[in-house]
């Protein structure tokens, strides 16, 4: 097979190339020509098209993301920050953890099962490439209206895809999110987080070094899957009529790759979790044997990305024989080999003297491994195809990519949205005894409506499809506020991790909404008894070419960077997903924020459910009448308008300090943060999760409660004011806890006590646990079977 060579490119400067179909603008094509001093070869064009895609280059977002470094709070815990495959955080005792969250939104809409499955695979390889053993995953999912037929297709596919891949990989799924909103109907969000653990000394950097060192490709052979996924699928909007509700048949396809007209092919990859499991164990054994100089995972943009980034980061050259790449389809052309996003592959650099040991370990794990090139001192990335040079570029030019300052514009409807105050919405009647009967019937009705809404309801239908026990270190998992994992079996050192995001708040105010997402994740980690340490994020937005979306993005990033500084938790890395829109309609701006905390002794973790009867329930924090973007407004009125709850980061910090210290001193038996659905949903969840063992959920029969509301019942039950939590004091610890809260200046009011067969709000209503549980548990099974 002949390929477009460097010599041919020099000889035929005017040959037409399909740069537009590959997602490059005319200006970008011209810059490539200027960089190389000639037209690119087809292979080079393939490399630049994927590397300069929005997905790989962050060309529209980099300018803004700099704030995460510029405003980073000083933190001794940060061992490797933004720029590596994932940030690395020191958690003490010689351990470091690395964590990152990444989107796989577009593939998960086109082909939900494989899209979601390979999303898990991709983030796990990111973590593995840092030198860490992946130990847990979480997923943050957002879908269209729960009762829409297409939502059922997407939900069933995504959940079974994550279940299929994550379970087979042997990684516990310890938490996440599940929400529904019409804005995600044509563009679901599938964000997957992975956590890895290593000893400090084991940190691997993705920078090639040492001319003469061998470049080894290991894992699955390269096939014609996912070609152009980064440039065509993840970096463009869905057309209004594309990728409709007809399953895989709606996939975006392309037939105009350089190298000739070929059959239309799906841009979504196909996952093999078994090979990934072997790859994990194989790589960990390679690390232990000390035979890895550098390593990088192959994700978006495949070999094109791994070679350019390894060489660019190490400021070295690399010579690669593309014909040495093992193929699943012998008809693949060099550009296709470069762009293929076949899963379960890694690229490593090893010294020649270590090569035999390296290949021996791969053979033991039945992982195919092939030397495809070597590190050079030329500073150039050179590739050949059966001896003919087809690529000769400075790797930095591909790895760096263009940088755009996109126009931004405050959305035209922003003020009208803010003015649409939820204060005008009809509220339930309540308060006072009427003729000896409890008079809170309407309040109880609203509570059950919020509890039974798809966003408020029990997520067990999803989480029961995920293995949360494997590896034996899961201390808390769903439905608790945060996932808690034991890291050291002897010392009981552990970590807590939570992800949160609220597109509704961000639609009302992206700056405040993003800060609220961070505050909620931070609070969730604290409510589990841990000290928040570091932040990752997955920023899901519409098209950056839309100035209104770009304004939302800039506001969101500025809000997150400011809040991270204020809370003292640095951003260690993240991911940007643009073009989340169908036709001209963007999703709500949806930054998903993950917070990682450390807990010195996981035996002191705080579960979210009431543990035992007869303990005092304390409301922490200040409640104001804040209903803008609330779950009550959505579930009861389908309303979105007004202002999101006020952000008070110093109050969040004080609340977290109280919770972590109280956990340390053993004062509490449970704690639960207040967020969507306010105190109403929190109390109901505390009752229903109550009585369950550690990581278990099924054993719990629930623990009731009787509370008295010290103020307007409606506001106290459904307001979503931030910086609040409920805490349950162990018997005898009430006074010490009250002192602790007072010392930190955190308002604390005893609402009542745990126990009894119902959730009773004195003078208003009493809902038997069975009815509460029925409203909570029946929703998702009824929707999705």
């Amino acid at each position: 097979m002949t390929a477009d060579t460097v010599a041919a490119a020099a000889a035929t400067p005017d040959r037409e190339q399909p740069h537009g179909a590959l997602g490059l603008t005319d200006a970008e094509r011209d810059s490539i020509g200027a960089l190389l001093g000639r037209r690119p070869t087809d292979s080079e064009l393939a490399i630049y098209s994927v590397m300069w895609s929005e997905h790989c280059s962050y060309k529209s977002s980099r300018l803004h993301l700099r704030q995460f470094a510029e405003k980073a709070p000083p933190s001794p815990a940060l061992l490797a920050g933004i720029g590596g495959n994932a940030g690395v955080v020191d958690i003490g005792q010689g351990y470091a953890v690395t964590f990152k969250i990444e989107s796989h939104n577009h593939p998960s809409y086109v082909e939900p099962f494989q899209g979601a499955a390979t999303g898990v695979g991709g983030i796990v390889r990111d973590i593995l490439a840092m030198g860490a053993r992946p130990v847990a995953v979480m997923d943050a999912l957002r879908f269209g209206p729960p009762d829409a037929a297409d939502t059922r297709r997407v939900v069933a596919g995504v959940v079974s895809g994550i279940s299929f891949y994550g379970n087979c990989l042997g990684l516990p799924n310890i938490g996440g999110e599940l929400t529904f909103d019409p804005c995600y109907a044509g563009n679901p969000l599938v964000n997957t987080l992975c956590l890895g653990v290593m000893r400090h000394a084991d940190l691997k950097l993705a920078a090639a070094s040492g001319p003469g060192n061998k470049v080894v490709l290991l894992g699955s052979p390269t096939g014609p899957d996912g070609i152009g996924g980064a440039s065509v699928l993840a970096s463009a909007s869905f057309g209004a009529g594309q990728a409709g509700g007809d399953g895989a048949g709606g996939g975006q396809t392309r037939s105009d790759q350089p190298g000739g007209e070929r059959a239309k092919r799906p841009s979504v990859q196909v996952g093999d979790p078994f090979m990934e499991k072997l790859l994990i164990e194989c790589c960990l054994e390679l690390y232990a044997a000390g035979v890895v100089v550098a390593i990088q995972d192959l994700g978006a943009a495949g070999i094109a990305c791994a070679t350019t980034e390894l060489a660019a980061a190490g400021k070295v050259g690399m010579a690669v024989a593309l014909d040495a790449v093992p193929l699943r389809d012998s008809g693949l052309t060099p550009p296709e080999i470069l762009m293929s996003e076949s899963q379960e592959r890694m690229m490593a650099v090893t010294e020649p003297a270590a090569l035999a040991t390296f290949l021996g370990i791969c053979a033991r794990w039945d992982v195919p491994a092939t030397v495809i090139g070597e590190v050079t001192g030329t500073g150039r990335l050179e590739m050949t195809w059966y001896g003919d040079p087809v690529v000769d570029i400075p790797p930095g030019s591909a790895a760096e990519g263009p940088l755009y300052d996109r126009p931004r514009c405050r959305p035209a409807g922003q003020d009208a949205l803010a003015a649409d105050d939820p204060a005008a919405l009809a509220r339930p009647a309540g308060g006072g005894l009427a003729g000896g009967e409890l008079a809170g019937g309407e309040l109880a009705g609203d509570l059950l409506a919020v509890l039974g809404s798809a966003a408020g309801a029990d997520k067990a239908w999803v989480t029961e499809q995920y293995d949360r026990y494997v590896r034996g270190n899961t201390v808390l998992a769903m439905p608790h506020d945060a996932g808690v994992l034991r890291i050291d079996e002897q010392t009981c050192l552990g970590v807590a991790i939570a992800t949160d995001g609220n597109g509704r708040f961000c639609q009302l105010d992206p700056y405040a909404g993003t800060q609220l997402a961070l505050a909620e994740a931070y609070r969730n980690v604290a409510a589990a008894g841990a000290r928040p340490l570091a932040v990752t994020n997955c920023l899901n937005f519409g098209s950056p070419e839309d100035p209104e979306v770009m304004w939302q993005f800039a506001e969101s990033v500025r809000g997150l960077a400011d809040a991270c500084l204020e809370l003292g938790v640095p951003v260690t890395g993240g991911n940007v997903s643009f073009y989340n829109q169908t036709g001209g309609r963007a999703i709500q701006p949806t930054p998903v924020v993950g917070v990682l905390g450390v807990i010195e002794d996981v035996r002191r973790r705080l579960p979210s459910g009431f543990a035992a009867p007869g303990e005092a329930i304390v409301l922490l924090g200040q409640t104001a009448a804040e209903f803008g973007g609330s779950l009550w407004a959505q579930a009861r009125h389908g309303h979105l308008g007004g202002r999101p709850p006020a952000v008070d980061l110093p109050a969040e910090r004080r609340l977290a300090a109280v919770l972590a210290q109280a956990a340390d001193r053993g004062l509490l038996s449970a704690a639960h943060d207040l967020s969507d659905g306010g105190l109403a949903l929190a109390l109901a969840e505390c009752c229903l999760i109550g009585g369950s063992g550690a990581a278990g959920v099924a054993a719990g029969s629930g623990v009731g409660a009787t509370v008295t509301l010290p103020g307007d019942p409606f506001t106290l039950l459904f307001s979503e004011s931030a910086a609040r939590a409920v805490a349950v004091t162990r018997s005898g610890a009430g006074a010490e806890f009250a002192d602790l809260a007072a010392g930190q200046g955190v308002p604390a009011v005893v609402l009542g006590s745990t126990g009894g067969p119902a959730l009773e709000v004195t003078g208003l209503f009493s809902i038997p646990l069975a009815d509460l549980g029925d409203a909570y548990r029946r929703t998702l099974p009824a929707l999705f079977g």
Partner: protein
């Protein structure tokens, strides 16, 4: 006590932890070695050996180690197959029947209550007959199936070791959660006892006695 690692085994580390906490020495056994390393008992752990390709357990059955294990088990070596291990024991014909796709077709991860129906095996001697314990079920193909004659034979000879106590989470015939060989030395169990050995990381400690039972049996 040997714990076998096949490519795709996942709960091998958990099984080793349970063995160690029971007071025995876990001995890792590698699928490719034809060597049982002199162990007194063997655990086939959960996971997705060989990716569950073809059929759960169907490829693992042909691993070199199994060529040693199968005759040893027939000769009386105690073997406990958990989840995927149970599937492998069925594929290797050390136990009758098969594990099929769950009723409902979803993977199920849930704490389940299980009744110990037979406490005369070397793996269940530490339980009272009829005792109800909480273990962890996590499987997609956990529905036990066998023909009527086999089920009748299992029932009649007391070879049903454990049964789901609250409903039937996966549609198993007769709500069977675990069975034993005729000699009672080879036991297959769908729920995981190794995930119920400490309250911190599981639903309790009910699973521990599978491991202490075999230790007591091996040392007397």
């Amino acid at each position: 006590m040997g714990v076998v690692t096949f490519p795709g085994s996942l709960d091998d580390a958990d099984a080793c932890r349970a063995v160690a906490r029971a007071g025995a020495r876990p001995v890792p056994l590698w699928h490719g070695d034809r060597d049982l390393r002199g162990v007194d008992a063997v655990i086939l752990p959960g996971g997705f050996s060989y990716g569950d390709y073809l059929r759960c357990g169907a490829i693992a059955r042909f691993a070199p180690l199994m060529a040693e294990l199968v005759p040893a088990a027939r000769a009386g070596l105690p073997v406990l197959g958990i989840c995927n291990g149970f599937q492998i024991l069925c594929e290797a014909h050390l136990l009758p029947g098969a594990l099929t796709r769950n009723a409902g077709l979803h993977f199920v991860c849930r704490d389940v209550r299980v009744r110990i129906e037979n406490n005369r095996t070397c793996w269940t001697a530490g339980y009272a007959a009829g005792e109800v314990v909480t273990l962890v079920l996590k499987s997609g193909e956990g529905a036990y199936q066998a023909d009527q004659a086999t089920l009748a034979e299992l029932e009649g000879s007391g070879r049903i070791v454990a049964r789901y106590a609250d409903g039937n989470p996966n549609g198993s015939a007769g709500a069977v959660a675990g069975i034993a060989s005729a000699a009672g030395t080879v036991v297959g169990l769908m729920p995981h006892p190794e995930h119920a050995i400490e309250a911190l990381t599981g639903p309790g400690t009910d699973g521990m006695r599978f491991f202490t039972s075999i230790l007591a049996s091996a040392t007397t």
